[in-house]
C-alpha cells in the first residue's frame, strides 16, 4: 500500500517509461466544455434577469436588453439540458471512469479514501492523497452532488419558463413544482440561490484542477481536452 501511496504526488520524472490512459471519451469532453460555457452564460444572464443591474434609456422600442438576456438564458439552458442528456446516456455507455459507478463512492475502500483525500486537502499534505486515475472519491461525491443540484436548477428553471404559456407543454410538465415548493416565488428563490452554488463551485473546481496538475504533473487539465493522461508505466492507482 505504501508504494502505491508514494507514486504520483511528487512531480513525475521527466524521462522514463510512460503509458497512455484513456479516461474521458469525446462525449464527456464536449459535454464538459459546452456545459461550462453555458453555465457561465446562464449565471451572468440569470443574475441580470433576477436583478437587472443595468438599464437602457430612451424609447422602449429601440432596445431589447432583457429580451436578449432571456433569449441567451433559455438557449444556454437548452444546451445544458442537451449535455445532461449526453451525460446520462454516457453513465451507462461510457468506460469505467465515466459510468455511474464511478460517481458513487460507496465501497469500503472508496469511503476510506474519501476521508484520506479530505484529510490531505485540509491538512495540506498532498503526498498523502490516495492516487486515482479518474475521479477520486471526494470528486465523485462532489460531482454527483453537483449533478443533483444542476438537475434541481433545470427543473425549477423549466417550472419558471413554463409560466409563459399555461397551455404549453412545459407548463403542463412542470406545473407540480410550484405547489410542491410552496408557490412560484419560492421556485424563483431556489433557482436564484442555486446560481450562487455554481458561482462558489467554479473557483474551487478550477483551483483544484490546476493544483493537481502543478503538484503532480499529472496532466489533469489536458485530460479534459485530450481525453487521457500520461502516467509512469509502473505507477499504481486505486482505480487502475
Amino acid at each position: 500500500m505504501s508504494t502505491i501511496m508514494a507514486a504520483p504526488p511528487k512531480p513525475l520524472p521527466r524521462t522514463g517509461n510512460y503509458r497512455w490512459v484513456s479516461l474521458w471519451g469525446v462525449p464527456i469532453r464536449v459535454m464538459h466544455w459546452a456545459a461550462a460555457l453555458s453555465i457561465v452564460v446562464l449565471a451572468v444572464t440569470g443574475l441580470y434577469i433576477g436583478k437587472p443591474y443595468f438599464m437602457t434609456s430612451g424609447e422602449a422600442s429601440s432596445h431589447f436588453l432583457m429580451g436578449w438576456m432571456r433569449f441567451l438564458h433559455f438557449t444556454a439552458a437548452g444546451v445544458v439540458v442537451m449535455t445532461a442528456v449526453v451525460r446520462v446516456y454516457w453513465l451507462f455507455a461510457g468506460n469505467r471512469y465515466e459510468r455511474w459507478r464511478a460517481l458513487v463512492p460507496v465501497s469500503r475502500k472508496n469511503l476510506r479514501n474519501l476521508l484520506r483525500q479530505a484529510r490531505a486537502y485540509v491538512l495540506v499534505r498532498p503526498e498523502e492523497a490516495p492516487p486515482y486515475l479518474g475521479h477520486n472519491p471526494l470528486q465523485q461525491m462532489s460531482y454527483t452532488m453537483l449533478y443533483a443540484i444542476a438537475a434541481a436548477q433545470v427543473v425549477t428553471g423549466f417550472a419558471l419558463y413554463g409560466q409563459y404559456n399555461s397551455a404549453g407543454i412545459f407548463y403542463r410538465a412542470f406545473n407540480w413544482i410550484g405547489p410542491l415548493l410552496g408557490g412560484i416565488p419560492n421556485v424563483r428563490f431556489i433557482h436564484h440561490e442555486i446560481t450562487w452554488v455554481f458561482a462558489i463551485y467554479l473557483p474551487i473546481h478550477v483551483y483544484l484542477s490546476i493544483r493537481a496538475d502543478v503538484l503532480e504533473h499529472n496532466s489533469t487539465i489536458s485530460s479534459i481536452v485530450s481525453g487521457g493522461r500520461m502516467v509512469p508505466a509502473d505507477a499504481k492507482f486505486q482505480d487502475d
Binding site: 436583478k51 437587472p52 434609456s57 498532498p126
Partner: protein, 389 residues
C-alpha cells in the same frame, strides 16, 4: 343607466322581459351577450344561443352566501358608476340571500335562504365569498347560530355547482396567511363532491364573476378551468404577458423607486417587486372600475392576488424574492451568495499559498530522484527528455 330599483323582479317573469322593463333595448342586450362571449373566448355563433338562454331564463337560481370575508368581493361587483346589464343580472340572481344586498334580516332572511334552496334543489348555482374557519369547532364564524362549515355544506348539498368568488373562498386569503389562527380554508377544501370553480383575486374582477355565472346559466355547466379550478378564459395567461409595460421590461427599462424618472415615464415595475411574471389574471385586459385603470396601470406593482397563498409567498410585495425565513435574511441573499463566492476564491487562494509553502519545504528535503531513463529530476533543461513507449 339602469336604475337598480325601477322594476322589481316579479314571479314567473323571464329575464328578457325583466330587462325590457328596465329599459334594456334588444340591441344593447345582444351587444352585451356579444361582449360576454368575447370575454369567455367563445365564437360569434354562441351569441344567439347565449341571448336566447338568458332571455328565456325564468328564475335565475343562484344563491350567494358570504362567510369569513371583508365584503370587498361584493363591493367589486356592485361598485360601478353605471350599472351594466351584467350588474342587473347579478343583482337579480343574488337577491334571495346576500348579506350585503338583501333587504330582509334575521329569521326572515334565513327563511328566504331555506326556501330558495328547497325550491331549486339540485339546480341552483351556489356563489360563495369568504373562507371557512375550521379551528376550535368553527366558532370564529357563525350565522344564525350555525357555523360557516355547516352552512356551506348544507347550501352546497343542493347546488348544481359551486362558484368560490375571491381569494378567501379560493384558499383562505389573508386570514389563512401564516399562522392562520382561525384555521381558515377555502371552499374546495370542504366541498369535494361538486365542481368548485375558483374566481381568484382579492377581489376578483366583476366581469369574470358575471361571465362565469352567465356561462353556467347559458350552457348549464362551468367554463373550462386550470389545475387550480380557475376559469381558463380569465386566468389562462400571466399578467406579465399581457402587460402594457412589457415593452419596457423587454427593453431593460425599470422603475427603481416610486418617485424616480422611470416611474414618471411608466417603465416596468419588475425591480420594485412586481409579481406579474408569476400571476395569472386578466387584469391588464378587463381592468377595474369600468375599465378605468388597474394596479400596474396606476404605477403599483402587482401583488399576485390571484395566486394561492400570495400573502405568504408573494411577500415582500416590493421585493423580487420571497422572505422565506421571515427575518429578512433573504433580502441579503445575494450579498451572502456573493460573499461566499468571494470567500471560496479567497479560501482557494489561501489554500494555494499553504500548498506552495508545503511543497517548497518538502521538495527541498527530497533526495534527488534518478529517473529510470537515466536523467535526473534536477537535470538541466539542456538534456532533452526522452519518453519511451
Amino acid at each position: 343607466m339602469y336604475s337598480p330599483t325601477s322594476h322589481p323582479w316579479t314571479e314567473g317573469e323571464t329575464l328578457g322581459h325583466h330587462l325590457e322593463q328596465r329599459g334594456v333595448s334588444r340591441r344593447d342586450f345582444v351587444e352585451y351577450c356579444g361582449g360576454l362571449c368575447a370575454v369567455l373566448g367563445l365564437g360569434n355563433l354562441a351569441v344567439p344561443r347565449m341571448a336566447r338562454a338568458l332571455q328565456t331564463l325564468k328564475r335565475p337560481s343562484v344563491i350567494w352566501i358570504q362567510l369569513q370575508e371583508c365584503t370587498g368581493c361584493v363591493e367589486s361587483v356592485i361598485r360601478t358608476s353605471e350599472p351594466t346589464i351584467g350588474n342587473l343580472i347579478l343583482d337579480l340572481v343574488s337577491l334571495d340571500y346576500s348579506h350585503t344586498l338583501m333587504a330582509a334580516a334575521g329569521h326572515q332572511a334565513e327563511d328566504a335562504l331555506q326556501s330558495a334552496m328547497k325550491q331549486n334543489a339540485g339546480k341552483y348555482l351556489l356563489v360563495v365569498t369568504g373562507s371557512v374557519p375550521l379551528a376550535d369547532g368553527g366558532v370564529y364564524l357563525t350565522i344564525g347560530g350555525r357555523t360557516a362549515e355547516t352552512i356551506l355544506k348544507e347550501a352546497a348539498a343542493g347546488a348544481a355547482a359551486v362558484v368560490a368568488v375571491g381569494a378567501c373562498a379560493h384558499w383562505g386569503s389573508v386570514q389563512a396567511a401564516r399562522p392562520n389562527p382561525t384555521g381558515a380554508v377555502g371552499v374546495s377544501a370542504i366541498i369535494k363532491d361538486k365542481p368548485v370553480i375558483n374566481i381568484a383575486g382579492c377581489p376578483p374582477i366583476a366581469d369574470v364573476i358575471t361571465a362565469t355565472v352567465v356561462h353556467f346559466l347559458t350552457f348549464g355547466r362551468m367554463p373550462a378551468t386550470d389545475g387550480d379550478g380557475r376559469p381558463l378564459f380569465a386566468y389562462g395567461a400571466r399578467i406579465h404577458d399581457q402587460c402594457s409595460r412589457r415593452a419596457n421590461f423587454d427593453a431593460g427599462q425599470f422603475v427603481t423607486s416610486f418617485d424616480d424618472d422611470a416611474a414618471r415615464q411608466g417603465w416596468c415595475l419588475y425591480h420594485v417587486g412586481c409579481k406579474g411574471p408569476a400571476t395569472f389574471s386578466p387584469c391588464p385586459i378587463f381592468q377595474w372600475n369600468d375599465a378605468t385603470s388597474w394596479p400596474i396601470g396606476a404605477g403599483h406593482p402587482c401583488l399576485g392576488c390571484t395566486e394561492r397563498h400570495f400573502w405568504d409567498t408573494m411577500t415582500p410585495f416590493y421585493g423580487r424574492l420571497p422572505d422565506i425565513g421571515g427575518f429578512g435574511v433573504e433580502r441579503s441573499a445575494d450579498i451572502i451568495g456573493a460573499a461566499l463566492a468571494v470567500g471560496a476564491t479567497a479560501g482557494v487562494a489561501a489554500h494555494a499559498v499553504a500548498t506552495g509553502i508545503h511543497e517548497a519545504r518538502r521538495r527541498r528535503s527530497l533526495p534527488i530522484v534518478e529517473a529510470p531513463g537515466g536523467g535526473s529530476s534536477a537535470a538541466p533543461p539542456s538534456s532533452p527528455p526522452s519518453v519511451k513507449e
